[in-house]
């Protein structure tokens, strides 16, 4: 179905524990008077890999941005790793240091080298000594397969390389949960694969992942669960095979037929 995933992914060893990583209950959010998220209920176990899809404007970005409080919710509860997100800054800092985020447009810091991009937060937030932070950064840059670019600036890298740096930058904070907001949507087709490979490798290590993406091949290969959103609500969720082969709701069917081009 998707040519970018070219190897069988063995998910059998990817243990999903009973421990709850993220608990969202009765969550609502408004932009002014626009009710953008309605009654969201969702539990994510540690080690789970969840793909969120849905038409543009359905609130996918808003939902995962609420999880690290880039957006504030107005009603209901979000608990991340046992810490409830309220306006308490201490809690927000705690959650943000445990949750990594990868953006559609990478958002690397253009005035810093790749290495500095990766060490900035560990040094200033985690107070890691510079030398150690650089070692960790090089470790993750090797993992995303671009250690040789460490001293270049983001502007000198291709889109795919930049996105892999962005992933490495998040990993340097040793997060327990990773959020991805359409990480491949701004990339040329030939670069999508290198980013997806990086994400698959991450999944194979048991990272808890929430991923907004339209890469259905990735969803089928890696996800334990696919969530379909429309008009600010969770319309349907299921494990990938059922979701793709046997969608229940009409909206899901319509969406799938559009995106898969049947």
């Amino acid at each position: 179905m998707n040519e970018t995933i070219d190897r069988p992914i063995d998910t059998s060893h990817m243990q999903v524990s009973d421990e709850v990583a993220i608990q969202i209950s009765q969550m609502n959010k408004w932009y002014g008077t626009f009710h953008v998220l309605r009654d969201i209920n969702m539990t994510v176990q540690r080690g789970e890999r969840i793909v969120i899809c849905g038409p543009s404007g359905s609130g996918k970005s808003t939902l995962i941005r609420c999880i690290n409080r880039l957006e504030e919710h107005q009603a209901g509860q979000i608990v991340v790793d046992g810490t409830e997100l309220t306006s308490d800054l201490k809690n927000i800092d705690k959650v943000r240091s445990e949750v990594g985020m990868v953006f559609q447009h990478f958002n690397l810091f253009p005035h810093l080298t790749i290495l500095e991009n990766c060490t900035l937060a560990p040094i200033w937030v985690r107070k890691t000594p510079k030398k150690e932070a650089e070692e960790v950064a090089m470790h993750f840059l090797r993992k995303v397969k671009i250690p040789e670019q460490a001293n270049k600036y983001p502007g000198q890298l291709s889109g795919g390389q930049q996105q892999r740096v962005a992933i490495a930058r998040s990993l340097c904070m040793k997060p327990r949960i990773m959020l991805f907001d359409e990480p491949t949507s701004a990339l040329d087709p030939e670069m999508i694969k290198e980013v997806l490979d990086t994400m698959i490798a991450l999944a194979e290590e048991g990272m808890t992942m929430l991923c907004v993406t339209h890469e259905m091949g990735f969803a089928q290969a890696v996800a334990n669960r696919v969530i379909f959103m429309d008009q600010g609500q969770i319309v349907e969720q299921n494990e990938p095979r059922e979701f793709f082969n046997n969608p229940k709701s009409d909206r899901t069917k319509l969406f799938l037929s559009q995106i898969l081009g049947h």
Binding site: R69, L70, R96, H111, W124, V125
Partner: protein, 485 residues
Amino acid sequence: MSELHAQTVPFVRDSMLPQELPPASQRGAVKWVRENLFSGPMNTILTVLSLLVVFLILQSSLPWWLNSVWNANSLAECRAAVQAMAGEGATGACWAVIRERWHQFMFGFYPRGLYWRPVLAFALLFVALAPVLFGDNARKRMILLACVAVALVLALIGVGTDLAHVSFAIVAMAAILAVSHLAPARLIWATLLFPAVGFFLLWGGSVWGPIGVLMGFGVLVAVYRLLLPMLGVVMGTALGFLAACVWWLMIQTHVTTVLHNLMPWGLEAIDSDQFGGFLLAFTIGVTAIAASLPLGILLALGRRSDMFLIKTLSVGFIEFIRGVPLITMLFTASLLLQYFLPPQTNFDLILRVIILVTLFASAYIAEVVRGGLAALPRGQYEAADALGLDYWKAQRHIIMPQALKISIPGIVSSFIGLFKDTTLVAFVGLLDPLKGVTAIVRADINWKGIYWEPYIFVGTIFFLICFGMSRYSMYLEKKLKTDHR
């Protein structure tokens, strides 16, 4: 190409063609002239007209420049020398006035025997700037410092300094060069201490005054360090600042008086009304530039703040200052400010002017920086947030480096404007180089009637300084360009 090739097979080149220059009309000066000066009828007419204007200007002013007189004691002597040299009715520049009065253009009425103090302070200014200007470029920094050292010694000898002070300056500069070479990071101390050292050199008085002020900063840091683990950054800074204010306002004078009685060290005190010329322009300009940048940044952040009160105050301040002419502010400095201060405080006029010029410049800097902040994509803030950086850390490491980089041209323009505006202090009776000193020189019976030469001299110096700032800003922009767009 390939089709052509296909038609002429088989083909083998037996001799390779050497590289050749383009035709004569397509290279070098001929090409440049054709493309840039005579590329069309309109362009040709403009070129001819411009050449005519340049010719007319040169024709009328060149003799004046060529007939310059350097040795004379009055304007009348100058004129006589020109007539003798170039015949009846000839005109000539009389630079003798600069030769005789240069010290007033430079130092105003600063005591002649003490010129080494402002000269040394000026040299130390560049030492203080070195880590800021060329912090990461050891070679450029060493070149700058070496040039400063040589220029300092020459200047000290030029202003007639006694041997003791010249040797002192040589030793000091040697020490600074050694520090810059061995422990470049330590050079930042020269920058931090410069305000106190510069003040002490310029105004003199007891050495314990500036040391007392510095001790206030020590109090600030000590209290901050003490409270940091318990109360956090913001409260720690606030209480530290409060403690420092208590020190400065209530304790310092007692301590420094005692110390001064024990160890009466110091330099001869110089009154503010003896300052003048470029010494005054630099004192006001440099202090105001150094102080207005941080203030402007804070105002820009305040203007973008979510907190209603801070935002309103910042906007109000910026718009008020930008709506009022600088001259009004200077009159405020000279007349009104005294009313708002407690009676008997004798607040130095230069200091008051510096404060208001700083406030004035900071409003403009704030707007320039705000433009830089607005140009940053939202994603930068979000990435910083997502990585867990708090507001101040994000500002310091992510936002400001980029926003300031974007704002460099605007900031330097503001600085250049500020520096030139220091001449406006003439309106409150201070002796600026352009109007103040020139007026004094022309009031002298010997130089009555001279006008071009002093203005050209002062103008040239202003131009050199402002041009230097502008070139440095271009260098900085090029150096900081990392986005490879």
